[in-house]
Symmetry: D2
Subunit: 307 residues, 4 copies
């Protein structure tokens, strides 16, 4: 069985959930999406994340989406599933469901009520006990959760909970945190660090010791490229390509609007049939669509110049 | 079929959810709890609320609890169910489930991301459309949700959405809001206003035009008494009795710890078998239990003096 | 020179700032206020606190108020001054000003941006270095600041910063925190713990090892009485008197409205000439004033019954 | 006398405050800074903003900084001063001080406690009355203040308060808000809209009807260039240049770290003598400095290619 481990690297794309124009699940779209992500260079997938509109799915729908994606992936890459929930009973049920279906591990964000270091460590200690030997990703995303984890708090979690194998690093941007975590002596063992924020800081993150990205962007090939060129030691080329994608990446990273832009772009690229978000959610107005179109056109021109 | 309406008054007790010591559902405890609440003077019940640990239940468990409580109530009083959720698909599914099982209406809190008046009105307009002719309670609880609804915002919701029949008023304490809502001309029709905060401001709320309470307290008879004496025009007696319960009510209203105190007291009163909260949740230390015991003893003495 | 120390006990009343109806400083009112607080049993005063409308005063006005109060107190009790500010330059200037005028120490709240234990300890370490040998009160008031300090964080601050001599405990209500801090081994030395929240939990706090209160209430004699009877070992009498004041104390503790109620009551008692708050601030409507009047009348009746 | 008006356009640079390595004010640095900003194309300056470390200055220091900058500007461009404060007495005192010294207007952010539309409109109505005929900038920056202003709320403020002449638009990124405000019928009169966020969305903002920027960036010439080329109708050229600066602009927009990066860059460019922030504040580690250096080098190369 494929299990997430400390060796996770590359690009774990946070998968969107495709809907039809009327908000129904588009399961065939899931298949196309999986193919697209893997062709773009994904080394893993993460499903039921915030940007996957997971909180808008019923439990039955969550199961259908995860099942369909796992089937299409067919063990080619590991699939991580978000299982964050207010209560342990729900986390337990979700974890059993996704692991039973073939997920490689789960991702857990801290509830927004946690504040002190002890509360955070206490929470993850209880969660780790709950899910047993299932490997988990520690999601550090203060902008969304309101919970700030210090380096020493992350170290306490990693050093006492062996099933914590990966940090989804999204402390905006928290570059110094990566450096501190990679410093000898901070952690008892080397875990995987995959970064978020739509890849907006990926070159700088790789230089500081990140293993790749776990985030979404309508052009995941950008992230795969940066990781690949970093591995080859060609950071100048990585930066040239990164810079070509940056104007659009920046536009897609807008809070609130970002997911609608991502889905619009994926629909425009022909990956999904409809750009629709489920309610409550935003649709793009004509002006925004025009601005995205122009950014894509300029990006294509720039990429041609670089090739 | 029993449906919640603008005439709702008295005490809608926010039901706790009883668990065994190991965190399993205690469905027989649900029966005893229903009997206790009705004997204490409840004119309605509200299930799956925040203080019912609803977010810690799986969907299946929620169904079991609601079904059991509805069966035991057996149409003697209306039962409202909380159906707040991040996505409309979940709200829709939950609403269909509880209404199908015999609930009289649903209660919906605003998502914490809403800020402007237009966002709040827009959200409830979409929700009301979603749930069709199901009557709903507008939950106004800024301390927990972070969303503040002005009088004019509540008026816009009430005046445009006929299925909004009741306001659960928990703006701490927002007494002036009740007065403003009851002022002629503010609302196009008179809706029910039931108050929260553990009944801590109930005498003052009744004087300003509230119809009763929709909240929890280990002695719901206190709230029934206040409402009853208010109806009789005997507010001095209402206040005398209220004051006797206040020291304990204050202690139970502590954020974080309150539900543990409530369950401890209900267990001590013999209503539920175990005071256990589901994880993540607090247990009471011995000192706190001792302080609750003393408050209860003093309360009993004081009530005897008053009778 | 009088300096705040670990021995601080009793009631340090958080002084209001009296204004005229038009919002001008009422310096003569400061004199009457000081006399009233000391007669009511205050063992200290705290000025320029949040409930003293300190953020609404200009620097010149702050100086005038502090100077006037210190002069009137005339070394009879220690006076602590709040010096919280966004920048160290301001904290430094304020501290020098109030200590030069004769204050016994300063009180410092954490900036709302602090989250992790390390950030909190780091902040106080820098502040303590800045103010040198001036004794300070650590203000722990999560409801207002958004900053939660764990027991271990407070212990780190106390154990490394000898000028931290007192904790203003206002973690709502955080009774278990007092017990933990008083447990042998938690702190290297015994510091003063004075409690907040308008005295709403004072009997329970004293039982757990608090040294008294540092908070406001229009009847500070209530707090002095509880502390006094606790010292005599007569907690039943302390509770009887506490309970008599509780209905009003509860009403005064309403967020947003509380200070207006306190000032209205103090004006009604003849201590200050005007109940006015400075803008931006709330005034009481007639219904609220009527409800306060009734609570005061009932309180007087109950106190007579007890004497 | 120069007064801010609805015609404000171009780039109002949010001025940093230069300190020496030990945290003292560097008033000569203020002169060089003014010269640099004006040479870079600033059409106005904004002082005492959040990114100017205003909250870390004492009142005396604020006066010195404003006075020095106004003297050096010598009426060549309008200077706006931030006067946000918790109380009206302080806002009043600050406004009188800066206007007396020759400022063209003031900028006022909403206190974080405001939530409902009515509260926001009420606050600005009171503030406008307080400052009389002084023109003011409405600061809309939800990420920092927590206050969200809807289009209709801004319209109510603009349409009833003639002294509101400019909106500092920093709703991240809130592009649709600009479009809505520029739609005929939304506002009774055309006010100036100057955008924030370090210029990260300036091309898209200009296309939607913004008049320019009011924000900071270590290369303010980027913003001046975008505005200038937009005015000439050459948006392609504007975007080419914008894209060249974007990798650094993105890096400088990091919350928490951004100001330290800006000051480091300005020091590296020789504008200010020291990159120091006042305490509490962050310094850059060597790795971050190296990353900034590389971004600057790449930016220079790219700009050469474009010229």
């Amino acid at each position: 069985m494929m299990r997430l481990s400390e060796d996770a690297r590359g690009v774990y794309v946070i998968a969107i959930t495709p809907f039809t124009d009327t908000g129904a699940l588009d399961l065939e779209g899931c298949d196309r999406l999986v193919d697209f992500y893997l062709e773009a260079g994904a080394t893993g997938l993460t499903v039921l994340g915030m940007m996957g509109e997971a909180p808008k799915l019923t439990v039955e729908e969550s199961r259908k989406v995860v099942g369909r994606i796992l089937k299409r992936v067919d063990r080619r890459v590991p699939v991580v599933a978000g299982v964050s929930a207010p209560g342990f009973a729900q986390i337990d049920a979700l974890t059993k469901m996704v692991m039973g279906d073939g997920a490689a591990g789960v991702m857990i964000a801290p509830p927004g009520s946690l504040r002190t270091d002890d509360q955070i460590v206490g929470y993850y200690t209880q969660v780790a006990e709950l899910i047993g030997d299932v490997p988990f990703v520690l999601q550090d995303f203060p902008l969304a959760t309101g919970v700030q984890m210090s380096v020493s708090t992350i170290a306490r979690i990693v050093n006492t909970l062996p099933t914590c194998v990966c940090l989804k690093h999204e402390d905006w941007p928290g570059l110094a945190k990566i450096t501190a975590l990679r410093k000898e002596g901070t952690l008892d063992r080397r875990i995987s660090i995959l970064c978020g924020n739509g890849g907006m800081f990926l070159p700088e993150e790789m230089e500081r010791g990140a293993d790749g990205a776990m985030t979404g962007f309508a052009y995941p090939e950008m992230m795969a490229t940066v990781v690949e060129h970093h591995a080859k030691g060609d950071m100048e080329r990585a930066r040239d390509l990164f810079d070509a994608y940056l104007p659009l990446a920046r536009f897609e990273q807008q809070p609130g609007l970002g997911l609608a832009i991502r889905k619009y772009t994926l629909a425009k690229r022909g990956i999904i049939a409809s750009p629709a978000l489920r309610k409550p959610g935003n649709a793009l107005d004509a002006t925004t669509r025009g601005q995205v179109d122009r950014l894509i056109a300029r990006q294509e021109t720039r990429l041609k110049e670089l090739n």
